[in-house]
């Protein structure tokens, strides 16, 4: 591979079975530097499972994941250093203050002691948490908690940021801010985000990958796509029609 430095995430042949049920089926995910990739799909399409596998929280049944050329399964600690992850539920401790929590995250992510204060300040600044640094996370609104979750994901300046439905529960102003933040981060980092909101994808993503029943049904840039909604419904319904007619034939 000549452009090894540019490919941040290279996952090939990812499969994940929950006992008999196949959640993700031979999926390929590629992410380049400076790219925002949107994972789209109906409920249960395998978006969250894919993200959990890409962040090393779930081992794939089959397949290989490389983060900047580092094998996630062989060298999980080295690879995870390059990843920032916001799960569906922000993993925040409600009994700590925002500042304490972010400082703790910085220690967990091996940010050197001298740079921790700067790292926390920069992340709070970017996520608009400056004014709430001394407040308990448990007392914050859901939107602010979500921002704390994003702040911990970008704290250690990772090459890859993976966000699972980052704008859920935010008010329209915060959504706009978060989208701006994502586009801004997308210039230096690679970003994968999952969402249900189609306009959001058009607003922030460079490329979309649509999943249905654990398979990729669409993977392209948004140039030339007039209505993403049309594409989305076409693909999902055509799939289920095909599945139906297939069952009937059998």
């Amino acid at each position: 591979m000549t452009d090894n430095q540019d490919v941040l995430v290279a996952a090939t042949g990812l499969s994940r079975y929950y006992s008999e049920h196949c959640a993700v089926d031979r999926l390929d995910v590629q992410l380049h530097k400076g790219e925002v990739l949107g994972l789209l799909g109906p409920n249960g399409a395998g978006k969250s499972t894919t993200m959990q596998m890409l962040t090393g929280n779930l081992a794939p049944t089959a397949g290989e994941i490389r983060i900047r050329g580092i094998d996630l399964l062989d060298e999980p600690r080295k690879a995870k250093q390059q990843i920032g992850y916001l799960p569906e539920q922000p993993p925040v401790y409600r009994d700590l203050t925002v500042g304490e929590y972010l400082y703790y995250c910085a220690r967990l992510r091996n940010v050197p002691a001298a740079q921790r204060k700067d790292a926390v300040e920069r992340a709070s600044e970017r996520c608009g948490l400056k004014d709430v640094g001394k407040r308990l996370i448990g007392n914050l609104s859901k939107g602010y908690r979500q921002r704390v979750g994003i702040a911990q994901a970008i704290l250690h300046n990772p090459a890859v940021v993976i966000l699972d439905e980052p704008t859920v529960g935010l008010d329209p102003i915060q959504i706009r801010e978060i989208r701006r933040l994502i586009r801004e981060l997308g210039r230096e980092h690679g970003i994968i985000l999952s969402t249900h909101i189609l306009p959001e994808v058009q607003a922030v993503c460079d490329r979309v990958q649509i999943l249905n029943r654990g398979k990729t049904v669409f993977n392209d840039t948004l140039q030339g796509v007039e209505s993403l909604e049309q594409v989305f419904f076409d693909l999902i319904f055509r799939e289920s029609d095909e599945a139906l007619s297939g069952e009937e034939a059998a």
Binding site: Y18, N57, L58, R77, P87, E88, V92, Y93, R107, R109
Partner: protein, 253 residues
């Protein structure tokens, strides 16, 4: 090592930002103080007058101090599960475990961090309760070796409680389940001791398997390295099981 310390110190802090640790320390200290005073009064009014003519009378260390540490061990059977249940079960319920599992940490670091956080709490509690027998040193001669053995014994006993509790907490999805199963396991090991030392069907094996049997010889002032090895094996075994369980979570999902 840095990461382990980061987790341990934060866990320790988080115990004290909720009322749980404070109330546990207060209640346990109150009950033990009552037991201590009771024992002391009994010693002063009944045992001491009787022992004037005896050749080798039992001292205050034999009667009051070991009773205090024995009671501390018994009370902690019920209290330790409350401390360990939070560790993994609560994190799993609140879905905060992802913070640790997606950070560049190995399962070993996560488990040891949590365990050392618990040990800090155990040491604090033993330190507080040891102030009571230490206060006797102001007025009388203490058997320091005996006191030291009791402190070491209780530390090892509670450290073994913590390891068992940590493992059951890693298995459970709900804190209450973790607490109940931990309490059950700890109590079962005490029952093993009782049944092992009963007159009718006593068996050395049961006494050996029970963590309480090894604790009692420390209270008599005896430091037997085989007891120490028992506790180290017990703690190490449960910690390894916990690490395996966390690793397995990634596979099972």
């Amino acid at each position: 090592m840095n990461a382990i310390w980061a987790i341990a110190s934060t866990e320790f802090r988080r115990m004290f930002v909720s009322p749980l640790a404070w109330s546990i320390l207060a209640v346990v200290q109150f009950i033990l103080a009552w037991i201590f005073l009771l024992g002391l009064q009994e010693y002063l009014t009944q045992i001491q007058p009787m022992s004037t003519g005896m050749e080798d009378p039992p001292g205050v260390s034999d009667l009051v101090v070991s009773a205090l540490y024995l009671w501390a061990g018994i009370i902690m059977l019920a209290v330790m599960p409350l401390m360990t249940m939070r560790q993994f079960a609560e994190e799993r319920m609140n879905q905060t475990l992802a913070l640790l599992t997606s950070s560049p940490l190995s399962s070993t670091q996560i488990v040891l961090g949590k365990y050392f956080g618990l040990l800090l709490f155990v040491l604090l509690m033993i330190g507080l309760l040891s102030l009571m027998p230490l206060s006797l040193a102001l007025g009388t001669q203490l058997d320091w070796g005996m006191l030291a053995a009791a402190v070491v014994g209780l530390t090892l006993l509670l450290a073994s409680f913590a390891a068992a509790g940590l493992f059951l907490s890693a298995l459970a999805r709900q804190p209450v389940i973790a607490a109940v199963t931990t309490f059950g396991l700890l109590l079962f090991l005490v029952i093993l001791y009782i049944s092992g030392s009963s007159q009718a069907a006593g068996s050395e094996v049961f006494v050996y398997l029970s963590h309480f049997g090894h604790f009692l010889s420390f209270l008599e002032g005896m430091f037997d390295s085989s007891d120490l090895v028992y506790y180290l094996l017990f703690i190490g075994g449960f910690l390894i099981l916990t690490i395996r369980k966390l690793d397995n979570d990634r596979l099972q999902g």
